[in-house]
Amino acid sequence: MKKDQKQRTAYWRENLRYLILLLIVWFVVSFGCGILFVDQLNNYYVGGAKMGFWFAQQGSIYVFVILIFIYVWLMNRLDKKYHFEE
């Protein structure tokens, strides 16, 4: 039982670490690039679009999709590592 509890705690810790990392990226691409630093980034371009504007209307959404798929991949790996897969 004790070992099981240890496993669970370790699993949860790693899970939380992934969450924090992914949520930092989530925050940076949307609130960071699209809102807080939009004026600075607008001095650069993505194709014909100002970069800050592009992040707010396109880039952040692409990153969101990628983030979820990375999360799925990380968690499936974690489940296997701890033998918690269903």
Partner: protein, 598 residues
Amino acid sequence: MTVQTWTFLIVGLTFALYIAIAIWARAGSTHEFYTAGGGVHPLANGMATAADWMSAASFISMAGIISFAGYDGSVYLMGWTGGYVLLALLLAPYLRKFGKFTVPDFIGDRYYSNTARTVAVICAIVVSFTYVAGQMRGVGLVFSRFLEVDINMGVYIGTAIVFFYAIIGGMKGITYTQVAQYCVLIFAFMVPAIFISLNMTGNVIPQLGFISDVNDGSGMSLLGKLDGLHRDLGFAEYTDGSKSMIDVFAITFALMVGTAGLPHVIVRFFTVPKVKDARISAGWALLFIAILYTTAPAIAAFARTNLIDTMQGKEYTAMPEWFKKWEDTGLIAWTDKNGDGAINYAPGAAVEGKPVLATTADGELQRGQFGQVIFANAPTTTTNEVYIDNDIMVLANPEIAGLPNWVIALVAAGGLAAALSTAAGLLLVISTAVSRDLMKMQIKPNMSEKEELWWARGGAAGAVIVAAYFGVNPPGFVAATVALAFGLAAASFFPAITLGIFDKRMNREGAISGMVVGILLMFGYMAVYKLGWFMDEVPPKSSWWFGISPEGFGSVAMVVNLVVSIVVSRMTPAPPQAVQDIVEDIRIPQGAGEAHDH
């Protein structure tokens, strides 16, 4: 064939398809009625979630809103997609592991309290009703525009369709119908977008056309050209906002957190077989949503450029066919203030108040000297002569791009698919709240499954009728409703659920006081600053708290909920061991039984 014939044909075919699916997938048990028996493939669930999520507003109005708001419109784009990241990472897998049917189920069990359950039921019903009223109205609007029936008649037809398949099929019927509806709506949205992108930039993919150069020989980028047009006409640049940074931040955050807290979205993740499936399903859902949400800003920029190019400074008599057609529906109108016969578009409203077209005694539209429609409203002092409705950007797109009639019919079918799928999903939440969270869990715990299923069907029927009533008689506060639905979801469910998962020490007292304070604060702010209750008039922007608009206030209410919950929970007893075990258990994807065996 005429547009009318095509529309009847395509809309009729899609409706027949939805009904056929509903009959094929009818629900035999409460488990199937509430969560489709938990057997939906994650990919199908992702599509259904996307259709459920994208409403008539996303399909018809969003591109238009962005088109007029430019950069400020980004709050919707980021807000309504970023919430799925929160949903996938913080809620979906754990709620799937918890393995019940509804959001109030989770709140009631996790906080070992029927009071908490009741607060959650009330929130779920209020949030879903505020949302569904707009959907039924949307159904009516689409019908009235494309099939030339009365708006109210449109609401009744839409109600009858939803009534039929929501009641027979429950979640199972709804889910598979939504898969079909997603296909219809995304096809209908993309076809005109692709053609317009090709016309204007030579790029087949609208998302790339958006950042390409226009092919009018000027060598300018599309957005550069649009910014230039805006400057010439005296508007703020398209890629530059007019809202304050803190308000953009707050609104985006409130929409994200609200999205993750909406019960009709959360409940989708109860329908897949495993925790693993709940995670990937959120990914598919966002991918399918992102296809539309990254195309919408492209359409917005194309349509705006096109519109300004077509009409600015041109003679009214030289306007293309579509301009005159949509004039008759009141979506676009021109008043010749300076009497030069040419159209002048500039910042500011063209007329005082909500534009109404002038009609003669026998109901015919009045015409001016060039044959243009006439406003009943008094003109304003601005130089702007044009009124343009948001919705025209998507509705008139196929005609602006000169596409064939069947594409126009397709857009009608797409708009209907978007409105119907969202309405059905919301109605299910309401019916479940009645039959399960209220009847089964609180009033009549001993009823048989068959009886519960009848309550669920009755609840759905009642909800459809109330929704239709609101569709025909939209309540006065309808302008505030969507913001309110998101604000309430953000201020109540999101903190209660995430704390329930991530903070084992969170107890009944903390969660309930947090939710109640959050909801009251949200309601209060909305009532005062949006609706102008308790005062003589709506207070000016300068008196907003921290400069945050009512639309963005959900983020403040959410933070207050978090703080209150945590403080109160630390001053009151810890939750019982059995509840702490539930929390331990939902954190691990593997089978529930095993944790107790050791």
